[in-house]
């Protein structure tokens, strides 16, 4: 470990993303502030500054305190650790080893963020500033080159040139559909009606996804800058950011950013002395998944029930209040300034033939390094889940990865070498969606997961069209029966029939894609359905009516770990001798399975 020169100016970055805040990051930051400004440390305060930043990505190990320029990353920091960090690291130049990241595979301690395997394979474009800047500081954003491209676009380029550059970059909408962004802009600019509007879709309703949240929270100005550039390109006068109800921190962060941008002339009348006048307003959503669909979102901003309409005319021609409207999601907007700065050809050097650039994924579920990951399009699932994510924890085996939220599908282990982009995921029967990757292990029942998605969608279908409203309900009923051990042989054909009808006949994408979880699991995990229906057995041990647990006496060491975890005292046995489960007591909660280090507890 290196020692440091004490005269250096230290920059301390404290992760204050939602995950870390829940784990006490605000208290860590406050403790740091208090320590740096206390009387006897005044000298230190002069050479050190601390920033509360957005998400550092590796949420599983937070809260983080990252120290620059030495690049020391401390993990799982508590407020009580701060005096030691200040004393040892800042004053004496020593590293506090117990707070470093532990690389379990190599059995070493890792000092710098860039040496942690989780970060090594990432390319941060949309997340370029997240975790490095204080989102409430415009100054921080400016230091990172912020609003420079707005200036360049506004003063040196014609609107058509801006649109041309975005078209050339091949950027496709990151909200899930993957529609070419530049073409959307071009269509909007070509529609004669005025006024025109810009919308940022920050609804992010997919359960299991939080990348847009992290950008809105951690780098709000990049979203604003993207929107202002678009406003110039198509001649729009007003912008709206629709943020989902649950994201209170995102709203606060964006609100501050808008205020600062207005104060400095990046928003408002005659931006940077040009002819462009543009304002942005935040609209807080009401907590409806379907409002992520663009026409439903527009209805919601207008003050209506969030029901979608048929898109025979695109919002780029007739959108908000019937006017030409560009609607893109948060991550798409965050990509705009960097494309304008570094150029379309730089952007196209990243990614695959049909999908350029990078994609931010939220890597969660049964994976060691949960968090946010940004990789070039075309990175394989195996690289993301195993090299970056550190694989499935607790010695269990990988079963599937769910992509695209409730509208997506489950991808099995045979397809782990799939290069992830818009097209490959669609071909595999799933979709990119907004970028949630939910890893599932052998303790996940695919039928039950699909039942879960359908119950989610049943609650979220707006009910406007019959195929979606009734179809989801029927699918859910059948799946619930199967999970309760009342499945019938004809159910699979019935599921397929209903699912295919919904795909063809539903009004909006929610209904058309609602059957993806059903169809993709029937494609890859049909055996598991058959096990439930014909074999009356749930191999993952999740569906209670179909599971029975037993302890393999050959494997069980009698360590006794499972005994206290059983809520009904259904496990018996002496120490160091094989245990057994009294099946009439067992409520099949699975606590014992999850507590066993030897995988001695089996499912019938």
């Amino acid at each position: 470990m290196t020692t440091m020169n004490k005269s250096l100016i230290h920059l301390l970055l404290v992760c204050c993303g939602t995950g870390c805040v829940a784990n006490g990051a605000r208290e860590v930051y406050q403790a740091l502030k208090d320590n740096l400004t206390s009387d006897d440390k005044a000298v230190l305060a002069a050479t050190t500054s601390a920033r509360a930043t957005g998400c550092h990505g590796l949420c599983a190990q937070g809260p983080f305190v990252r120290i620059l320029p030495e690049d020391i990353t401390y993990c799982r920091v508590k407020a009580a650790d701060i005096p030691e960090i200040v004393e040892k690291t800042l004053k004496q130049g020593e590293v506090v080893k117990r707070l470093l990241f532990r690389d379990r595979q190599k059995k070493t301690l890792v000092q710098g963020q860039n040496d942690i395997p989780f970060y090594q394979r990432q390319t941060r474009v949309a997340l370029r500033n997240v975790g490095l800047i204080d989102p409430s500081s415009l100054q921080d954003y400016l230091e990172r080159g912020g609003y420079r491209t707005l200036e360049k676009s506004l003063l040196d380029m014609r609107p058509e040139q801006v649109i041309e550059e975005i078209i050339k970059s091949g950027l496709r909408g990151r909200g899930g559909g993957g529609f070419p962004t530049g073409l959307k802009w071009k269509a909007c600019a070509a529609t004669p009606a005025q006024p025109r509007y810009i919308i940022c879709n920050g609804d992010e309703g997919d359960p299991g996804a939080f990348m847009d949240e992290s950008i809105m929270e951690g780098d709000p100005h990049s979203v604003l800058e993207g929107m202002i550039i678009a406003a110039y390109a198509v001649g729009a006068s007003n912008g709206f950011i629709y943020v989902r109800d649950e994201y209170a921190q995102s709203v606060a962060s964006l609100r501050k950013a808008i205020e600062e941008a207005e104060n400095h002339g990046f928003l408002g009348e005659n931006i940077l002395g040009s002819a462009l006048s543009f304002n942005i307003e935040i609209v807080r959503g009401g907590g409806a998944f379907v409002c992520g669909e663009e026409t439903a979102l527009i209805a919601s901003i207008e003050g209506n029930v969030g029901e979608p309409r048929d898109k025979y005319v695109f919002p780029s021609e007739k959108g908000l209040w019937g006017q030409p409207t560009i609607i893109n999601n948060v991550e798409t907007w965050a990509n705009i300034p960097v494309i304008m700065e570094r150029g379309a050809s730089w952007f196209t050097s990243l990614g695959t033939e049909g999908s350029k650039g990078t994609k931010v994924f939220s890597l969660v579920g049964k994976v060691a390094n949960t968090g946010l990951v940004e990789v070039p399009m075309g990175t394989t699932l195996r690289e993301i889940i195993f090299d970056i994510g550190g694989g499935v924890p607790k010695g269990r085996s990988f079963k599937a990865v769910q992509t695209g939220g409730p509208s997506g599908g489950c991808i099995p282990s045979e397809l782990l070498d799939l290069k992830v982009d818009f097209d490959s995921l669609s071909q595999a029967g799933s979709m990119m969606g907004s970028g949630g990757l939910i890893v599932m292990d052998d303790r996940t029942c695919m039928v039950e997961v699909v039942r879960y998605y359908l119950s989610f969608l049943a609650g979220e279908s707006c009910g406007k069209c019959v195929p979606c409203r009734e179809g989801i309900k029927c699918l859910l009923e059948i799946l619930t029966r199967i999970c309760h051990g009342q499945g019938e042989i004809g159910d699979i054909a019935l599921l397929e029939d209903i699912a295919e009808t919904m795909q063809q006949a539903s009004l909006c994408a929610l209904g058309r894609t609602a059957s993806n979880p059903v169809l993709s699991t029937l494609r890859y995990f049909r055996e598991e359905y058959l096990e439930h229906i014909e074999g009356q057995r749930c191999p993952a041990g999740i569906c209670r009516e179909l599971s029975e647990f037993w302890i393999d006496p050959v494997i069980c060491t009698g360590c006794g770990l499972c005994l206290p975890r059983c809520p009904v005292e259904g496990i018996k046995g002496e120490k160091k001798q094989a245990h057994w489960i009294e099946s009439d007591k067992c409520i099949r909660c699975g606590e014992c399975i999850d507590s066993c280090s030897f995988q001695a507890i089996k499912v019938k």
């Binding site: 829940a22 599983a60 359960p207 299991g208 807080r284 009401g286 949960t370 949630g436």
Partner: protein, 166 residues
């Protein structure tokens, strides 16, 4: 305040509603603000809203029932939202719901008799990396298990300083 007193608090509602422009597009924002102050949407407040923005009451009512953020029933002082996003679901959010039922005797959509706690499930709070998670008012609790849940409930039961946690 009893439900009846809420319903009669016309001046209070008017004050909140008139803080927004009288346009249809502010209905959701008005309802958010009413919810924040009263923890539900009293019927008379919705009637005033409809009148103020100039739409039929049926439209305001349909919005109040369509969007999940709003409730027509009074909620407790501490609103527990258990995340039932995919990740929380596969990491045992149903166990948390069972435990809350054991501890407080309420299921999703219900409020305790003393109006202290109410329970809801939400689809995802964006804290998937620290699943299973729950919210009490606006504070996020990470990796909650049965033992932690007991502590959280105790904390709010003993406390009583609502603002402190918001």
């Amino acid at each position: 305040m009893s439900e009846q007193e809420y319903e009669e608090n016309i001046e209070g509602f008017r004050k909140i509603i008139s803080g927004f422009p009288g346009e249809k597009r502010y209905i959701i924002a008005i309802m958010h603000e009413l919810s924040r102050c009263y923890r539900y949407l009293p019927r008379s407040a919705l009637e005033l809203t409809a009148e103020y923005v100039g739409v039929p009451f049926s439209q305001v009512y349909s919005m109040a029932t369509f969007y999940r953020a709003f409730s027509l029933q009074p909620r407790g002082r501490f609103n527990i939202k258990v995340c039932d996003g995919t990740t929380c679901h596969i990491k045992g959010s149903n166990i948390l719901l069972d435990e809350i039922h054991k501890n407080l005797g309420i299921g999703p959509g219900e409020t305790t008799a003393d109006r202290e706690f109410s329970l809801e499930t939400v689809n995802c709070i964006g804290a998937c990396a620290i699943a299973p998670a729950l919210l009490v008012n606006e504070r996020v609790y990470p990796r909650v298990n049965a033992a932690a849940l007991k502590e959280i409930i105790k904390e709010y039961r003993g406390g009583g300083d609502n603002d402190h946690h918001e």
